[in-house]
């Protein structure tokens, strides 16, 4: 299990591969991997977004993410999990968050991965401030519920 906070850009595919290759004891044991990547878009709520600043609460962020993963492991049969999250200045098309869950069965991989993402969105202390193309800046006020159908 690992939680990583990066102040610089990261390649999510590289992260997953490096983690999986290092976890040699998993080879042949996991049947299902679910990966979620949140990527910065160049628009939000109808406005063009130029960049974003992601603030966090060092220490609490890691602590909460570790608790979220531990809770996912209590609820589902999870072999391993990885969460990577960016902070600092982020540009459109850059990854913001990576969640990976390895499990024996696909139901557990999907459920645990989604649970981690939803819990992260509601509990991990990160805050986004958008810099618009119009030169305005604004704090993102609230995360939406990812389980709800629109």
């Amino acid at each position: 299990m690992a939680v990583k906070i990066y102040a610089q850009g990261f390649d999510p595919w590289q992260e997953v591969q490096a983690y999986q290759n290092a976890a040699r004891q998993m080879a042949g044991k996991f049947g299902a991997t679910n990966v979620f990547i949140g990527t910065m878009r160049d628009f939000n709520e109808g406005d063009d977004v130029k960049s974003m600043h992601l603030e966090h609460y060092p220490g609490m962020t890691e602590k909460q993410l570790e608790k979220i993963i531990a809770e996912a492991r209590r609820q589902w049969s999870v072999i391993d999990a990885l969460v990577v999250h960016r902070v600092g200045e982020i540009l459109p098309n850059e990854p913001i968050v990576l969640v990976v869950v390895w499990a024996s069965h696909r139901g557990d991989a999907f459920d645990a991965s989604r649970y981690i993402m939803e819990a992260l969105k509601s509990k991990a202390p990160f805050w986004k401030k958008e810099a618009l193309l119009s030169e305005d800046q604004r704090w993102v006020e609230k995360n939406t519920d990812g389980y709800k159908r629109e």
Binding site: G38, L54, E55, H56, Y57, G59, M60, K63, Q64, H85, I96, V97, M117, L120, K121, S122, K123, A124, P125, F126, W127, K128, K129, W139, V140, E141, K142, N143
Partner: protein, 79 residues
């Protein structure tokens, strides 16, 4: 006995208060709510403001101890 409490503010709250932390001293038991009131006299806490003690979410009626780090921040928007 005197208690030292560090108070931290994040994101839009930090901006609107114009500072990121306070170091306060108290004598006798205090709750999270007491800390907000002393640190921000006459300013009601914004709706939905969250509080943490030692990096765990807490209720505003939680009792705070000497050496604790108390944090206030708006709803989180990561991911």
């Amino acid at each position: 006995m005197t208690m030292s409490i560090k108070v931290r503010y994040f994101a839009s709250l930090k901006e609107s208060l114009g500072r990121s932390e306070d170091d306060l001293e108290f004598t006798g038991p205090v709750t999270v709510k007491d800390i907000w009131c002393r640190a921000n006299v006459g300013k009601p806490a914004p709706d939905n403001l969250l509080a943490a003690v030692n990096m765990e979410y807490v209720d505003w009626n939680s009792v705070v101890r000497d050496g604790d780090e108390v944090a206030f921040f708006p709803p989180v928007t990561g991911g």
